[in-house]
Symmetry: C2
Subunit: 344 residues, 2 copies
């Protein structure tokens, strides 16, 4: 017997057992208003017939799709894919599935993705805002529909919704303090002119750590760019050419830190002896550089798990006035050889 293409529905089960579809539905959904006998019979028949529930029909009827829309700037960056991993694991364990879309930092893509999510009738959205996004109407619509919206990493105070971020200030403060502990006094900082909160916070952590250690902040040691590898190279070349005195670099990104490492080595400088180096992100490559790069771990998988938990908290407290909750993850300074002067 070939059942190919034949889709078993609750009606087939009902027919076989001489009950109605409603009874089958109740049995399958654990509704208590049903006798043990029939429930067992239904479950057995379902198994025998190889019944597979149709989530689409269920979703149409119940209004719940068990789908989460997840929006990231780009999926093939370790930080974001790790967050997706965290979200996916929690979601799957609760029988939810995750639709992933990328904005590629383009506002239009971001808008379209959110719209597509809504059309697909996702039960809610977990998203990181694009770098250039200043209009949040598409997100407001999500909230207006009463759907959970959780923002992570790149958030905005303009939306009253749950968020999960890391303590960028603390990460930068730890990084800078560590360099000071190692005896550094002239600490360069690579940041970005973009007015994104996370970089402002990192700058603030840098500045405050200096201040708390009675070191004057020299604006000549602060470089703004895009924090890419090339920026790190350029900044470092400028530094060397200018003859400025410096004994450490704290970069707000591992990539520009890597650029600095390359140029320093090319110029015969020793790391960390001549210049100590600290990055930010804990990109996978940082443990493979020579010397390995001290950096700040943002715990992205845990961040994703937390985002998912906030999501389900909101989802399950639908009726109550949901108070947006902001979770701040404490980062960790991963100390590697690029900054360890004492042990040398």
């Amino acid at each position: 017997m070939d059942n190919t293409g034949k889709k078993i529905t609750i009606h087939d089960i009902a027919e076989k057992l001489n009950v109605t579809a409603s009874t089958v539905s109740r049995a399958l959904n654990g509704n208590p208003r049903i006798s043990d006998t029939t429930r067992k019979a239904v479950l057995k028949a379902a198994k025998d017939l190889n019944y597979e529930p149709n989530h689409i029909a269920s979703a149409l009827r119940s209004g719940r799709t068990q789908l989460i829309g997840m929006l990231v700037p780009t999926i093939n960056r370790a930080f974001f894919s790790s967050i997706v991993k965290g979200v996916e694991e929690v979601a799957n364990s609760l029988n939810y599935r995750v639709i992933v879309s990328q904005s590629n930092e383009v506002f239009e893509n971001e808008e379209n993705a959110v719209k597509a999510f809504l059309n697909a009738r996702v039960d809610g959205i977990i998203a990181s805002i694009g770098k250039t996004t200043e209009n949040f109407n598409h997100y407001s619509q999500v909230l207006e529909r009463g759907l959970p919206l959780v923002l992570f990493d790149r958030t905005t105070p303009k939306l009253q919704t749950s968020q999960v971020v890391i303590d960028d200030y603390q990460g930068a403060y730890m990084a800078t303090s560590h360099l000071i502990d190692q005896g550094c006094r002239r600490i360069v900082h690579f940041t970005t002119e973009r007015k994104i909160d996370i970089y402002k916070e990192r700058y603030r952590g840098y500045a405050n750590a200096l201040q708390d250690n009675n070191i004057e902040l020299d604006e000549n040691l602060v470089f703004s760019g895009s924090l890419q590898l090339e920026d790190g190279r350029n900044h470092t070349e400028s530094l060397l050419k200018s003859g400025a005195e410096f004994d450490a670099i704290f970069s707000a990104s591992d990539y520009s830190a890597m650029g600095a490492m390359q140029v320093l080595k090319e110029n015969g400088l020793s790391i960390p002896k001549d210049v100590a180096l600290v990055g930010f992100l804990n990109e996978p490559f940082t443990s493979f550089t020579d010397p390995p790069l001290t950096t700040v771990n943002q715990f992205p998988v845990e961040m994703g798990q937390t985002a998912a938990q906030l999501f389900f908290n909101t989802l399950n407290s639908e009726k109550e006035r949901t108070v947006p909750k902001k979770t701040v993850i404490q980062p960790e300074l991963i100390i590697r050889k690029s900054s360890l002067k004492n042990t040398n």
Copy 2:
């Protein structure tokens, strides 16, 4: 006026225009059996009322969800996340969305993910098979339902379905030939005992390149392990201890190549002068090592795009007897300093 919570349906549009829902549906779906006048009126009304189509209802009726289930071993590895990126971009451009799940190399997860996809009534699946998977019934079910199934990277000849892989043989052959070109004769190979096709192919490429250059394959230079960084370290330490003669290492993975690089440097050996080094995968970190690591690019984003294209080809030729198509992507040898003896 607050429309919060009020969901506009095609019936609302129909009522407003004194037509029926069917007419509205036709207008919205570009059905030709409708007058220009009414179509324009419908489109205008839809916009005015801020109508958002309900994909769930459409999916229930039409049987098409515009959803692709995508299964990867783990999402936070550059190779796989890049493939997801490729799939996502093609899918989104065609108004399809991608549900991502991870197997974490656990067979049960793989089975469950496929089942979940089927329950969610995805229009098809794009998947990479788990390392330990030997039972393919869950995939057979997909095919029996007439759904497109595209396998990538880790495939199996046991399933009659479209696949996209890279030419592992060719990649390994190029890598080994390159080392020979650089004057190497005693070339070590790191592989794995796991009987996965891709590693067998890489071994074959290595062996044939040696043979074609009249170099005898010395089995003492072939090391089996898990291809992790630690394996590379261990293999290299064994090599050095054994006193075996060797002037190059071709590792079937960048990770074990990295382990080799560390141990070689720790022992004061120069790369590539004393030992030339080539990896496989083109992991992002390979360009940041010192020296940068020569490796084999698998074009993962393109692989994802190709997988998506195969998917849509199959989807659109439903009725015809679909001939499974195997696409082989040609890899590229990325030559970096770790293997460039001549230029030194």
